[in-house]
Symmetry: C2
Subunit: 320 residues, 2 copies
């Protein structure tokens, strides 16, 4: 288990339960599938989405078993999209471990991801209402549309800020939002409170993704766990670059028009800094962060509120 | 619409409705996704699974709208697996049209398939019980496990008949079975009748897949719609070969141990015939077909029974 949760032993314990449910749920006769998925489960992800779901639940009547199962569902869904995402990215490493696509091949990765999806819906059908099932399916379709859009926009120098925000909303913030919402909703919170928590999740998700994208420009490879400039190389143009391109005098565009070498990436990162792209992206992340903080402040007092605030700070107020 | 259903205008009309529901359900802002999926829907598949679901429904109280929606769900689920399946096979053509993976690339195909999955669960959550949802998720996980097993068994000369049957049971028969079962179950048929229809679907599915695999050895390329010997070339060893290998004196094994040229394929097909592999596979298909026919005969009389029998004959009693 990630030491991210050390300060919150109860939450950490429940996240262990989430992991156990996931482990049980990928058990199957095909040992190849099982061991690949167990590796994935044990690869030390933070389990952010289930943690948010559990925290949402703390604002109502907390049914540990049900919420942990739902948390497992959400994480498995996220894992399924990661497995497929790594195919698109040709990624070799994820969380410091070898990806399924690089270890077993893309073909395996396709059906391992599908298998996870199906297991996730199986688990879900034991633990939730049709209504939540519908919302979760919708979230998956948004994530897929976001991924396809990202792919369709590869190497497109004219991606707008609006389009970028829509994409990360679909691909990241929607599931953060749903996690907090479903946790609250399944615990009998009022619609109003559940919606507010959903909004908090959305804003945290947006800030989180912008910061993640920033790290591709400003991060330290050893800390981030993946090579810096990776998005750029793959033609995935994120906020710092989109902003920088707005004031580019042609230098960046010229470099982007052909395959990038190491020097180019260093130069583009430098230009993104000089042209204010990084600063503006940071400012937008801060805007989402502030919105989230403001909403958190207005939540009913209690331990869950304190933890949510601390986690948001830990995730969003970091060196980037 | 395929002319396969010309003899049954009512069924044909309902299958048109199934298609319309599918068309509506893939509508989305990303025009790229939408047009790719509309092409797929209109590529002239027979819609066998929804047809079975509708026929199952005819044995009870037939709720056209609900059953057509469920039929659309089942077909979309099948389409999603086809989209992903084509990635594994590097397939260029499917039903005579270009596959998504060959037209848009594997990366698109991954998330287009996922998108279809999610849309399928969204549609499903509007039209069925949690119980059926669970069964359908389970069917998907079986299909995935079947696909992964097929992939893991590639170029393995020691695949047993038992393992082959398990694989096609998972990858094909399970969904045929579920289609008839869910149609009946959602229409208020008794558990006994629904289970019998499920069994009929299973046996039809098994026979159907064995025959499909036989066509790789005996078929006419122009009629089958895909190149003969395709499975063989890809190292997918199906029943005719598995049987033939049982009496092989080393000739087939020798050829299989290196990449196959056109001559090799011709020779293997010839040997599979001479060693009785094709005949034995035909006999097993007939056994499943007979089981299905026997169960159909014992169904309550009526138009649905007649149509089911005729379709089973059309599918299973053909030149192969």
């Amino acid at each position: 288990m990630s030491n991210f949760w050390d300060k919150y032993p109860m939450l950490k314990e429940d996240l262990e339960m989430v992991k156990n449910i996931m482990r049980k749920s990928v058990k199957c006769n095909e040992k190849l599938i099982e061991s690949a998925l167990l590796d994935l489960i044990d690869s030390g992800g933070k389990l952010l989405r289930p943690a948010f779901l559990l925290l949402g639940g703390r604002f109502g009547y907390y049914d540990q078993k049900k919420l942990c199962s739902l948390g497992a569902t959400i994480e498995m869904l996220h894992m399924a999209t990661l497995v497929h995402d790594d195919i698109l990215d040709d990624a070799v490493l994820r969380r410091g471990s070898q990806t399924i696509q690089s270890k077993y091949g893309k073909n395996y990765a396709v059906f391992m991801g599908d298998y996870l999806f199906s297991k996730c819906f199986m688990l879900l059908s034991n633990n939730t209402s049709i209504e939540n099932m519908k919302m979760l399916s919708k979230a998956v379709s948004r994530i897929c549309a976001g991924e396809i859009d990202q792919f369709a926009s590869q190497f497109n120098q004219n991606v707008s800020v609006k389009k970028y925000l829509k994409r990360i909303g679909a691909k990241t913030a929607a599931l953060f939002s749903l996690s907090l919402y479903i946790g609250a909703e399944e615990s009998g919170c009022s619609k109003k409170l559940a919606s507010k928590l959903g909004r908090i999740g959305y804003n945290i998700g947006m800030a989180f993704q912008i910061i993640d994208d920033l790290l591709d420009y400003t991060g330290d490879e050893k800390v981030v766990g993946k090579p810096v400039g990776n998005d750029l190389k793959q033609g995935i143009y994120t906020l710092p670059l989109i902003y920088a391109l707005e004031s580019d005098k042609g230098d960046i565009r010229r470099m982007l028009s052909k395959p990038l070498c190491y020097e180019d990436i260093k130069n583009i990162v430098k230009l993104a800094k000089e042209l204010g792209g990084i600063e503006r992206a940071r400012a937008l992340a801060k805007k989402y962060t502030d919105k989230a903080f403001k909403d958190i402040t207005s939540l009913p007092d209690g331990e869950a509120k304190v933890i949510l605030m601390e986690i948001a700070e830990k995730l969003l107020v970091r060196d980037y």
